[in-house]
Protein backbone atom coordinates (compact mmCIF):
# COMPACT_ATOMS: atom_id res chain seq x y z
CA UNK A 1 0.00 0.00 0.00
CA UNK A 2 1.40 3.36 -0.95
CA UNK A 3 0.58 6.90 -2.00
CA UNK A 4 1.27 8.13 -5.52
CA UNK A 5 1.83 11.79 -6.29
CA UNK A 6 -0.07 12.40 -9.51
CA UNK A 7 1.72 15.20 -11.42
CA UNK A 8 -1.70 16.75 -12.12
CA UNK A 9 -3.71 16.15 -8.91
CA UNK A 10 -1.13 15.66 -6.14
CA UNK A 11 -0.92 12.89 -3.56
CA UNK A 12 -3.62 10.19 -3.72
CA UNK A 13 -4.00 6.62 -2.50
CA UNK A 14 -2.68 4.04 -4.98
CA UNK A 15 -6.14 2.49 -5.25
CA UNK A 16 -7.18 5.46 -7.44
CA UNK A 17 -4.58 4.44 -10.03
CA UNK A 18 -4.18 1.67 -12.60
CA UNK A 19 -0.81 0.09 -13.24
CA UNK A 20 0.46 0.18 -16.82
CA UNK A 21 3.57 -1.98 -16.62
CA UNK A 22 7.21 -1.32 -17.48
CA UNK A 23 7.79 2.11 -19.05
CA UNK A 24 9.83 3.10 -22.09
CA UNK A 25 9.01 0.02 -24.16
CA UNK A 26 8.66 1.62 -27.57
CA UNK A 27 6.42 0.08 -30.19
CA UNK A 28 8.57 -0.96 -33.17
CA UNK A 29 8.52 1.61 -35.96
CA UNK A 30 8.54 -0.99 -38.75
CA UNK A 31 6.42 -3.84 -37.38
CA UNK A 32 6.35 -5.71 -40.69
CA UNK A 33 10.13 -6.07 -40.68
CA UNK A 34 10.36 -7.63 -37.23
CA UNK A 35 11.57 -11.21 -36.73
CA UNK A 36 9.68 -13.57 -34.39
CA UNK A 37 12.43 -13.09 -31.79
CA UNK A 38 12.06 -9.33 -31.93
CA UNK A 39 8.28 -9.60 -31.57
CA UNK A 40 8.68 -11.88 -28.55
CA UNK A 41 11.09 -9.38 -27.03
CA UNK A 42 8.65 -6.51 -27.55
CA UNK A 43 5.48 -8.35 -26.52
CA UNK A 44 6.51 -10.68 -23.72
CA UNK A 45 10.04 -10.29 -22.36
CA UNK A 46 10.24 -8.06 -19.29
CA UNK A 47 13.04 -6.93 -17.00
CA UNK A 48 10.84 -7.63 -13.95
CA UNK A 49 13.36 -5.73 -11.87
CA UNK A 50 13.81 -6.14 -8.13
CA UNK A 51 14.85 -2.60 -7.32
CA UNK A 52 14.24 0.72 -9.06
CA UNK A 53 11.76 0.27 -11.89
CA UNK A 54 10.46 2.84 -14.37
CA UNK A 55 6.76 2.16 -14.82
CA UNK A 56 3.55 3.71 -16.11
CA UNK A 57 0.50 4.56 -14.04
CA UNK A 58 -2.88 5.99 -14.98
CA UNK A 59 -4.92 8.10 -12.58
CA UNK A 60 -8.02 6.07 -13.52
CA UNK A 61 -10.29 7.37 -10.77
CA UNK A 62 -9.06 10.95 -11.04
CA UNK A 63 -7.78 13.02 -13.94
CA UNK A 64 -7.31 9.89 -16.12
CA UNK A 65 -3.86 11.04 -17.23
CA UNK A 66 -0.96 8.68 -17.85
CA UNK A 67 2.45 9.40 -16.31
CA UNK A 68 5.67 7.64 -15.30
CA UNK A 69 6.86 6.60 -11.86
CA UNK A 70 10.23 5.42 -10.54
CA UNK A 71 9.43 2.90 -7.81
CA UNK A 72 11.63 0.48 -5.87
CA UNK A 73 9.86 -2.87 -6.28
CA UNK A 74 11.68 -4.37 -3.29
CA UNK A 75 9.95 -2.01 -0.84
CA UNK A 76 7.30 -0.16 -2.92
CA UNK A 77 8.97 3.20 -2.19
CA UNK A 78 8.35 5.79 -4.90
CA UNK A 79 11.44 7.84 -5.72
CA UNK A 80 10.14 10.15 -8.43
CA UNK A 81 7.26 10.88 -10.76
CA UNK A 82 7.64 12.35 -14.25
CA UNK A 83 5.36 13.09 -17.17
CA UNK A 84 4.89 11.06 -20.32
CA UNK A 85 7.51 11.83 -22.93
CA UNK A 86 10.05 13.00 -20.36
CA UNK A 87 13.20 11.02 -19.61
CA UNK A 88 13.58 9.66 -16.09
CA UNK A 89 15.54 11.85 -13.63
CA UNK A 90 19.04 10.56 -12.98
Amino acid sequence: MFIIKCPYCGERDHSEFSYGGEAHIVRPKQPTELSDDQWAEYLFMRKNIKGLQYERWNHAHGCRQWFNVGRDTSNDKIHFVYKMGESPPK
Binding site: H14, Y19, W39, A40, L43, R46, K47, N48, K50, Q53
Partner: protein
Protein backbone atom coordinates in the same frame (compact mmCIF):
# COMPACT_ATOMS: atom_id res chain seq x y z
CA UNK B 1 16.17 -44.88 4.03
CA UNK B 2 18.06 -45.03 7.33
CA UNK B 3 15.28 -44.20 9.75
CA UNK B 4 12.12 -45.55 8.20
CA UNK B 5 9.02 -44.10 9.79
CA UNK B 6 6.43 -46.71 10.78
CA UNK B 7 4.00 -47.60 13.53
CA UNK B 8 6.86 -49.49 15.21
CA UNK B 9 9.25 -46.52 15.15
CA UNK B 10 6.43 -44.41 16.59
CA UNK B 11 5.87 -46.86 19.46
CA UNK B 12 9.60 -47.27 20.05
CA UNK B 13 10.10 -43.51 20.26
CA UNK B 14 7.07 -43.10 22.50
CA UNK B 15 8.96 -45.04 25.18
CA UNK B 16 11.70 -42.38 25.18
CA UNK B 17 9.14 -39.54 25.19
CA UNK B 18 9.90 -38.72 21.51
CA UNK B 19 13.23 -37.22 22.50
CA UNK B 20 15.40 -39.45 20.31
CA UNK B 21 14.08 -38.85 16.80
CA UNK B 22 16.97 -38.35 14.40
CA UNK B 23 17.09 -35.19 12.30
CA UNK B 24 15.42 -35.78 8.93
CA UNK B 25 18.17 -34.28 6.76
CA UNK B 26 21.79 -33.17 7.20
CA UNK B 27 23.04 -29.60 7.22
CA UNK B 28 26.18 -29.84 5.06
CA UNK B 29 28.63 -27.22 3.89
CA UNK B 30 28.81 -26.97 0.09
CA UNK B 31 31.36 -29.06 -1.80
CA UNK B 32 33.51 -27.41 -4.47
CA UNK B 33 31.87 -29.24 -7.37
CA UNK B 34 28.52 -30.82 -8.12
CA UNK B 35 27.11 -32.61 -11.17
CA UNK B 36 23.97 -30.50 -10.84
CA UNK B 37 22.89 -27.62 -8.61
CA UNK B 38 19.25 -26.77 -8.00
CA UNK B 39 18.67 -23.13 -7.00
CA UNK B 40 15.63 -22.86 -4.74
CA UNK B 41 14.72 -25.15 -1.85
CA UNK B 42 10.97 -25.05 -2.13
CA UNK B 43 8.77 -28.02 -2.93
CA UNK B 44 9.53 -27.87 -6.67
CA UNK B 45 13.30 -27.60 -6.19
CA UNK B 46 13.50 -30.37 -3.60
CA UNK B 47 11.29 -32.61 -5.75
CA UNK B 48 13.59 -31.95 -8.70
CA UNK B 49 16.62 -33.03 -6.67
CA UNK B 50 14.73 -36.08 -5.38
CA UNK B 51 13.80 -37.33 -8.87
CA UNK B 52 17.26 -36.50 -10.28
CA UNK B 53 18.78 -38.77 -7.65
CA UNK B 54 16.10 -41.45 -7.79
CA UNK B 55 15.22 -41.76 -11.47
CA UNK B 56 18.26 -40.39 -13.25
CA UNK B 57 21.00 -41.79 -11.08
CA UNK B 58 22.72 -38.47 -10.49
CA UNK B 59 24.20 -38.62 -7.01
CA UNK B 60 26.35 -35.53 -6.66
CA UNK B 61 23.58 -32.93 -6.40
CA UNK B 62 23.09 -29.82 -4.28
CA UNK B 63 20.02 -27.74 -3.53
CA UNK B 64 20.92 -24.18 -2.52
CA UNK B 65 18.35 -22.08 -0.71
CA UNK B 66 18.77 -18.46 0.39
CA UNK B 67 16.47 -18.85 3.40
CA UNK B 68 15.15 -22.08 4.84
CA UNK B 69 13.54 -24.89 2.86
CA UNK B 70 9.84 -24.53 2.23
CA UNK B 71 9.94 -20.95 3.54
CA UNK B 72 8.92 -19.25 0.31
CA UNK B 73 5.77 -19.88 -1.66
CA UNK B 74 5.66 -23.53 -0.54
CA UNK B 75 4.74 -22.22 2.89
CA UNK B 76 2.53 -19.42 1.62
CA UNK B 77 -0.08 -21.01 -0.59
CA UNK B 78 -3.57 -22.37 0.02
CA UNK B 79 -2.53 -26.01 -0.68
CA UNK B 80 -5.18 -26.74 -3.30
CA UNK B 81 -4.49 -29.64 -5.64
CA UNK B 82 -6.50 -30.30 -8.81
CA UNK B 83 -5.94 -31.15 -12.46
CA UNK B 84 -9.12 -29.92 -14.17
CA UNK B 85 -7.36 -27.71 -16.73
CA UNK B 86 -8.87 -26.99 -20.13
CA UNK B 87 -6.06 -27.50 -22.63
CA UNK B 88 -4.64 -30.95 -23.41
CA UNK B 89 -1.04 -30.03 -22.56
CA UNK B 90 -2.01 -28.63 -19.15
CA UNK B 91 -4.45 -31.42 -18.34
CA UNK B 92 -1.81 -34.08 -19.04
CA UNK B 93 0.87 -32.29 -17.05
CA UNK B 94 -1.26 -31.43 -13.99
CA UNK B 95 -2.83 -34.90 -13.93
CA UNK B 96 0.66 -36.42 -13.99
CA UNK B 97 1.27 -34.42 -10.81
CA UNK B 98 -2.05 -35.48 -9.28
CA UNK B 99 -1.23 -39.15 -9.90
CA UNK B 100 2.11 -38.68 -8.14
CA UNK B 101 0.31 -37.00 -5.20
CA UNK B 102 -1.89 -40.09 -4.88
CA UNK B 103 1.09 -42.27 -3.96
CA UNK B 104 3.36 -39.63 -2.45
CA UNK B 105 3.07 -40.44 1.26
CA UNK B 106 4.08 -44.07 0.56
CA UNK B 107 6.76 -43.03 -1.94
CA UNK B 108 8.41 -40.66 0.54
CA UNK B 109 7.60 -42.62 3.72
CA UNK B 110 6.34 -39.26 4.97
CA UNK B 111 2.74 -38.31 5.59
CA UNK B 112 2.00 -35.39 3.26
CA UNK B 113 -1.61 -35.45 4.49
CA UNK B 114 -2.98 -35.61 0.95
CA UNK B 115 -6.74 -35.41 1.28
CA UNK B 116 -8.93 -35.99 -1.79
CA UNK B 117 -11.86 -33.99 -0.48
CA UNK B 118 -12.92 -32.67 -3.89
CA UNK B 119 -12.63 -29.23 -5.46
CA UNK B 120 -15.67 -27.31 -6.69
CA UNK B 121 -15.58 -24.43 -9.17
CA UNK B 122 -18.75 -22.37 -8.91
CA UNK B 123 -20.54 -20.75 -11.84
CA UNK B 124 -22.24 -17.40 -11.24
CA UNK B 125 -23.47 -16.35 -14.66
CA UNK B 126 -24.43 -17.86 -17.99
CA UNK B 127 -20.94 -17.46 -19.40
CA UNK B 128 -19.45 -19.27 -16.38
CA UNK B 129 -21.93 -22.11 -16.91
CA UNK B 130 -20.93 -22.49 -20.55
CA UNK B 131 -17.20 -22.27 -19.86
CA UNK B 132 -17.27 -24.67 -16.94
CA UNK B 133 -19.43 -27.19 -18.81
CA UNK B 134 -17.00 -26.98 -21.69
CA UNK B 135 -14.15 -27.60 -19.26
CA UNK B 136 -16.03 -30.56 -17.74
CA UNK B 137 -16.33 -32.16 -21.20
CA UNK B 138 -12.71 -31.37 -22.09
CA UNK B 139 -11.52 -32.93 -18.81
CA UNK B 140 -13.54 -36.10 -19.39
CA UNK B 141 -12.17 -36.44 -22.92
CA UNK B 142 -8.71 -36.25 -21.37
CA UNK B 143 -9.51 -38.95 -18.83
CA UNK B 144 -9.75 -36.55 -15.90
CA UNK B 145 -12.66 -36.98 -13.52
CA UNK B 146 -14.99 -34.01 -13.53
CA UNK B 147 -18.72 -33.67 -12.94
CA UNK B 148 -21.25 -30.93 -13.37
CA UNK B 149 -23.47 -30.15 -10.36
CA UNK B 150 -26.75 -28.26 -10.59
CA UNK B 151 -27.55 -25.60 -7.97
CA UNK B 152 -29.53 -28.19 -5.95
CA UNK B 153 -26.61 -30.62 -6.11
CA UNK B 154 -24.23 -27.85 -5.01
CA UNK B 155 -26.41 -27.24 -1.97
CA UNK B 156 -26.43 -30.95 -1.21
CA UNK B 157 -22.67 -31.36 -1.59
CA UNK B 158 -21.72 -28.26 0.41
CA UNK B 159 -24.67 -27.09 2.44
CA UNK B 160 -23.22 -23.82 3.80
CA UNK B 161 -23.04 -22.17 0.38
CA UNK B 162 -25.71 -19.51 -0.05
CA UNK B 163 -27.68 -20.82 -3.05
CA UNK B 164 -30.38 -18.17 -2.90
CA UNK B 165 -31.26 -16.76 -6.36
CA UNK B 166 -31.40 -13.28 -4.78
CA UNK B 167 -27.69 -12.73 -4.13
CA UNK B 168 -25.67 -10.46 -6.42
CA UNK B 169 -23.86 -13.38 -8.09
CA UNK B 170 -26.16 -16.41 -7.64
CA UNK B 171 -24.76 -19.94 -7.78
CA UNK B 172 -25.93 -21.44 -11.09
CA UNK B 173 -24.01 -24.70 -10.77
CA UNK B 174 -20.52 -26.01 -10.23
CA UNK B 175 -17.89 -28.40 -11.48
CA UNK B 176 -16.59 -31.01 -9.07
CA UNK B 177 -13.34 -32.94 -9.31
CA UNK B 178 -13.54 -35.59 -6.62
CA UNK B 179 -9.88 -36.68 -6.91
CA UNK B 180 -8.77 -33.14 -6.17
CA UNK B 181 -8.15 -31.83 -2.67
CA UNK B 182 -5.43 -30.49 -0.40
CA UNK B 183 -2.12 -31.55 1.19
CA UNK B 184 0.10 -30.33 4.00
CA UNK B 185 2.49 -27.78 2.46
CA UNK B 186 5.39 -28.16 4.93
CA UNK B 187 5.24 -31.93 4.79
CA UNK B 188 5.76 -31.91 1.03
CA UNK B 189 8.97 -29.88 1.33
CA UNK B 190 10.20 -31.87 4.33
CA UNK B 191 9.29 -35.23 2.79
CA UNK B 192 11.16 -34.49 -0.44
CA UNK B 193 14.09 -33.02 1.52
CA UNK B 194 14.35 -36.14 3.67
CA UNK B 195 14.05 -38.41 0.63
CA UNK B 196 16.63 -36.47 -1.39
CA UNK B 197 19.03 -36.24 1.56
CA UNK B 198 18.91 -39.99 2.12
CA UNK B 199 20.12 -40.45 -1.46
CA UNK B 200 23.06 -38.12 -0.83
CA UNK B 201 21.70 -34.78 -2.05
CA UNK B 202 23.26 -31.85 -0.15
CA UNK B 203 20.60 -29.39 1.00
CA UNK B 204 22.38 -26.12 1.71
CA UNK B 205 20.27 -23.52 3.47
CA UNK B 206 21.08 -19.85 4.11
CA UNK B 207 23.06 -19.84 0.89
CA UNK B 208 22.08 -17.11 -1.53
CA UNK B 209 23.14 -17.14 -5.17
CA UNK B 210 24.91 -13.90 -6.05
CA UNK B 211 25.98 -14.61 -9.60
CA UNK B 212 25.93 -17.17 -12.40
CA UNK B 213 29.27 -17.72 -14.07
CA UNK B 214 29.21 -18.34 -17.79
CA UNK B 215 31.91 -19.32 -20.22
CA UNK B 216 30.63 -18.39 -23.64
CA UNK B 217 27.34 -20.16 -24.13
CA UNK B 218 27.58 -22.61 -21.22
CA UNK B 219 27.49 -22.34 -17.46
CA UNK B 220 30.51 -22.87 -15.21
CA UNK B 221 29.04 -22.47 -11.76
CA UNK B 222 27.41 -20.17 -9.24
CA UNK B 223 28.73 -17.52 -6.89
CA UNK B 224 27.03 -17.86 -3.53
CA UNK B 225 27.29 -16.36 -0.06
CA UNK B 226 29.08 -19.61 0.86
CA UNK B 227 31.60 -19.35 -1.98
CA UNK B 228 31.89 -20.49 -5.58
CA UNK B 229 30.31 -23.80 -6.58
CA UNK B 230 31.41 -25.38 -9.84
CA UNK B 231 28.79 -27.23 -11.87
CA UNK B 232 27.82 -27.85 -15.47
CA UNK B 233 24.07 -28.03 -14.86
CA UNK B 234 22.04 -25.38 -13.02
CA UNK B 235 18.31 -25.84 -12.51
CA UNK B 236 16.66 -22.64 -11.32
CA UNK B 237 13.39 -23.03 -9.41
CA UNK B 238 13.19 -19.67 -7.70
CA UNK B 239 9.51 -18.74 -8.18
CA UNK B 240 9.07 -14.97 -7.72
CA UNK B 241 12.81 -14.35 -7.99
CA UNK B 242 13.31 -16.20 -11.29
CA UNK B 243 13.84 -12.98 -13.23
CA UNK B 244 16.47 -11.83 -10.73
CA UNK B 245 18.46 -15.03 -11.41
CA UNK B 246 17.83 -14.80 -15.15
CA UNK B 247 19.30 -11.28 -15.10
CA UNK B 248 22.44 -12.72 -13.44
CA UNK B 249 22.80 -15.12 -16.36
CA UNK B 250 22.13 -12.33 -18.86
CA UNK B 251 18.81 -13.57 -20.20
CA UNK B 252 15.28 -12.20 -20.02
CA UNK B 253 12.13 -14.12 -19.11
CA UNK B 254 8.50 -13.29 -19.94
CA UNK B 255 7.60 -12.98 -16.25
CA UNK B 256 6.10 -10.43 -13.92
CA UNK B 257 6.40 -10.93 -10.15
CA UNK B 258 3.43 -9.84 -8.09
CA UNK B 259 2.25 -10.26 -4.51
CA UNK B 260 -0.48 -12.87 -3.99
CA UNK B 261 -2.27 -12.92 -0.65
CA UNK B 262 -3.92 -15.54 1.50
CA UNK B 263 -5.38 -15.50 4.98
CA UNK B 264 -6.70 -17.83 7.65
CA UNK B 265 -9.47 -17.40 10.18
CA UNK B 266 -9.47 -18.36 13.82
CA UNK B 267 -9.91 -22.14 14.19
CA UNK B 268 -13.48 -23.43 14.28
CA UNK B 269 -15.15 -26.84 14.36
CA UNK B 270 -15.34 -28.76 11.05
CA UNK B 271 -17.78 -26.94 8.78
CA UNK B 272 -16.53 -27.30 5.21
CA UNK B 273 -15.23 -30.69 4.06
CA UNK B 274 -14.32 -29.76 0.49
CA UNK B 275 -12.58 -26.95 -1.40
CA UNK B 276 -14.84 -24.33 -2.99
CA UNK B 277 -13.43 -21.99 -5.60
CA UNK B 278 -15.26 -19.21 -7.32
CA UNK B 279 -13.52 -17.43 -10.16
CA UNK B 280 -16.11 -14.83 -11.06
CA UNK B 281 -16.09 -13.29 -7.59
CA UNK B 282 -12.54 -14.42 -6.82
CA UNK B 283 -12.97 -16.26 -3.57
CA UNK B 284 -11.84 -19.68 -2.54
CA UNK B 285 -12.01 -21.41 0.76
CA UNK B 286 -11.21 -24.70 2.48
CA UNK B 287 -10.65 -25.73 6.08
CA UNK B 288 -7.33 -26.89 7.49
CA UNK B 289 -7.01 -29.82 9.88
CA UNK B 290 -6.42 -27.29 12.65
CA UNK B 291 -9.85 -25.82 11.91
CA UNK B 292 -8.81 -22.55 10.32
CA UNK B 293 -10.58 -21.46 7.17
CA UNK B 294 -7.91 -21.09 4.50
CA UNK B 295 -8.86 -18.27 2.15
CA UNK B 296 -7.12 -17.35 -1.07
CA UNK B 297 -7.22 -13.77 -2.28
CA UNK B 298 -5.92 -12.33 -5.53
CA UNK B 299 -2.76 -10.70 -6.83
CA UNK B 300 -2.08 -7.01 -6.96
CA UNK B 301 -1.81 -5.50 -10.42
CA UNK B 302 1.74 -4.15 -10.09
CA UNK B 303 5.18 -5.76 -9.86
CA UNK B 304 6.42 -6.01 -6.29
CA UNK B 305 8.83 -8.26 -4.37
CA UNK B 306 7.55 -7.19 -0.96
CA UNK B 307 5.63 -10.34 0.09
CA UNK B 308 2.73 -8.15 1.14
CA UNK B 309 -0.25 -6.98 -0.84
CA UNK B 310 -2.86 -4.31 -0.54
CA UNK B 311 -5.82 -4.23 1.78
CA UNK B 312 -8.29 -3.75 -1.12
CA UNK B 313 -7.54 -7.25 -2.42
CA UNK B 314 -8.29 -8.87 0.93
CA UNK B 315 -11.42 -6.75 1.36
CA UNK B 316 -12.73 -7.75 -2.08
CA UNK B 317 -12.21 -11.44 -1.35
CA UNK B 318 -13.86 -11.26 2.05
CA UNK B 319 -16.88 -9.45 0.61
CA UNK B 320 -17.36 -12.31 -1.84
CA UNK B 321 -16.81 -14.93 0.87
CA UNK B 322 -19.44 -13.33 3.09
CA UNK B 323 -22.00 -13.22 0.32
CA UNK B 324 -21.45 -16.89 -0.47
CA UNK B 325 -21.18 -17.97 3.19
CA UNK B 326 -23.21 -15.67 5.45
CA UNK B 327 -22.49 -18.13 8.28
CA UNK B 328 -18.89 -16.80 8.43
CA UNK B 329 -19.95 -13.21 9.08
CA UNK B 330 -18.76 -13.12 12.70
CA UNK B 331 -15.50 -14.99 12.17
CA UNK B 332 -12.29 -13.15 12.88
CA UNK B 333 -9.25 -13.44 10.63
CA UNK B 334 -6.14 -14.66 12.38
CA UNK B 335 -3.30 -14.19 9.92
CA UNK B 336 -2.72 -12.68 6.50
CA UNK B 337 0.37 -12.96 4.33
CA UNK B 338 1.67 -12.53 0.80
CA UNK B 339 3.95 -14.47 -1.51
CA UNK B 340 5.72 -13.23 -4.64
CA UNK B 341 4.45 -15.15 -7.65
CA UNK B 342 5.99 -15.13 -11.12
CA UNK B 343 3.28 -14.91 -13.75
CA UNK B 344 3.65 -15.82 -17.42
CA UNK B 345 1.57 -13.99 -20.03
CA UNK B 346 -0.34 -17.23 -20.79
CA UNK B 347 -0.66 -18.31 -17.12
CA UNK B 348 1.20 -21.54 -17.85
CA UNK B 349 4.59 -22.48 -16.44
CA UNK B 350 7.99 -22.73 -18.11
CA UNK B 351 9.88 -26.01 -17.59
CA UNK B 352 12.59 -25.62 -20.12
CA UNK B 353 16.14 -25.49 -21.39
CA UNK B 354 17.45 -22.04 -22.25
CA UNK B 355 19.75 -20.59 -24.89
CA UNK B 356 22.62 -21.16 -22.43
CA UNK B 357 23.93 -24.72 -22.25
CA UNK B 358 23.47 -26.24 -18.82
CA UNK B 359 21.01 -23.58 -17.63
CA UNK B 360 17.44 -24.72 -17.02
CA UNK B 361 14.44 -22.82 -15.74
CA UNK B 362 11.35 -24.06 -13.93
CA UNK B 363 9.26 -20.96 -13.35
CA UNK B 364 6.14 -19.02 -14.24
CA UNK B 365 3.83 -21.11 -12.05
CA UNK B 366 2.12 -17.90 -11.09
CA UNK B 367 -0.70 -18.31 -8.65
CA UNK B 368 -1.03 -22.09 -8.88
CA UNK B 369 2.24 -23.95 -8.50
CA UNK B 370 1.67 -25.95 -5.33
CA UNK B 371 -0.62 -28.51 -6.97
CA UNK B 372 2.05 -29.38 -9.51
CA UNK B 373 4.93 -29.88 -7.05
CA UNK B 374 5.61 -33.62 -7.63
CA UNK B 375 4.99 -33.46 -11.39
CA UNK B 376 7.01 -30.29 -11.80
CA UNK B 377 10.01 -31.81 -10.02
CA UNK B 378 9.66 -35.07 -11.91
CA UNK B 379 9.53 -33.42 -15.35
CA UNK B 380 12.21 -30.84 -14.55
CA UNK B 381 14.56 -33.60 -13.37
CA UNK B 382 14.01 -35.38 -16.70
CA UNK B 383 14.69 -32.16 -18.63
CA UNK B 384 17.94 -31.51 -16.72
CA UNK B 385 19.21 -35.09 -16.83
CA UNK B 386 18.47 -35.76 -20.51
CA UNK B 387 18.99 -32.18 -21.70
CA UNK B 388 15.64 -32.45 -23.45
CA UNK B 389 12.04 -32.14 -22.25
CA UNK B 390 9.80 -35.04 -21.29
CA UNK B 391 6.83 -35.29 -23.65
CA UNK B 392 4.59 -33.95 -20.85
CA UNK B 393 6.50 -30.68 -20.56
CA UNK B 394 7.50 -30.24 -24.21
CA UNK B 395 4.72 -27.67 -24.68
CA UNK B 396 5.96 -25.68 -21.69
CA UNK B 397 9.20 -24.60 -23.33
CA UNK B 398 10.48 -21.05 -23.25
CA UNK B 399 10.43 -20.81 -27.04
CA UNK B 400 6.63 -20.74 -27.14
CA UNK B 401 6.73 -16.99 -26.65
CA UNK B 402 8.65 -16.73 -29.92
CA UNK B 403 6.71 -19.34 -31.89
CA UNK B 404 3.34 -18.12 -30.58
CA UNK B 405 2.32 -21.64 -29.54
CA UNK B 406 1.05 -20.49 -26.13
CA UNK B 407 -0.81 -22.67 -23.61
CA UNK B 408 -3.36 -20.04 -22.80
CA UNK B 409 -4.87 -20.99 -19.47
CA UNK B 410 -5.57 -17.43 -18.33
CA UNK B 411 -9.28 -17.54 -19.01
CA UNK B 412 -9.50 -21.28 -19.38
CA UNK B 413 -8.23 -22.72 -16.15
CA UNK B 414 -9.94 -20.48 -13.65
CA UNK B 415 -8.48 -17.17 -12.49
CA UNK B 416 -7.55 -18.55 -9.15
CA UNK B 417 -5.38 -21.58 -9.69
Amino acid sequence: MKNKYSIFSLIKNAFSYHENWQRAWRDPEPKKTYDAVIVGGGGHGLATAYYLAKEHNLKNIAVVEKGWIGGGNTGRNTTIIRSNYLWDASAAMYDHALKLWEGLSQELNYNVMFSQRGVMNLAHNLHDVRELKRRTHANRLNGIDCEWLSTEEVKKFCSIINCSPDIRYPVLGSTLQRRAGTARHDAVAWGYARGADSMGVDIIQNCEVKGIKRKGDSVEGIETTKGFIKTSKIGIVAAGHSSVLANMAGIKLPLESKPLQALVSEPIKPIIDTVVMSNAVHAYVSQSDKGELVIGAGTDAYISYTQKGTHEVVEGTLKAILELYPIFSRLRMLRQWGGVVDICPDASPIISKTSIKGLYFNCGWGTGGFKATPGSGNLFAHTIAKDEPHKLNAAFNINRFVSGDLVDEHGAAAVAH
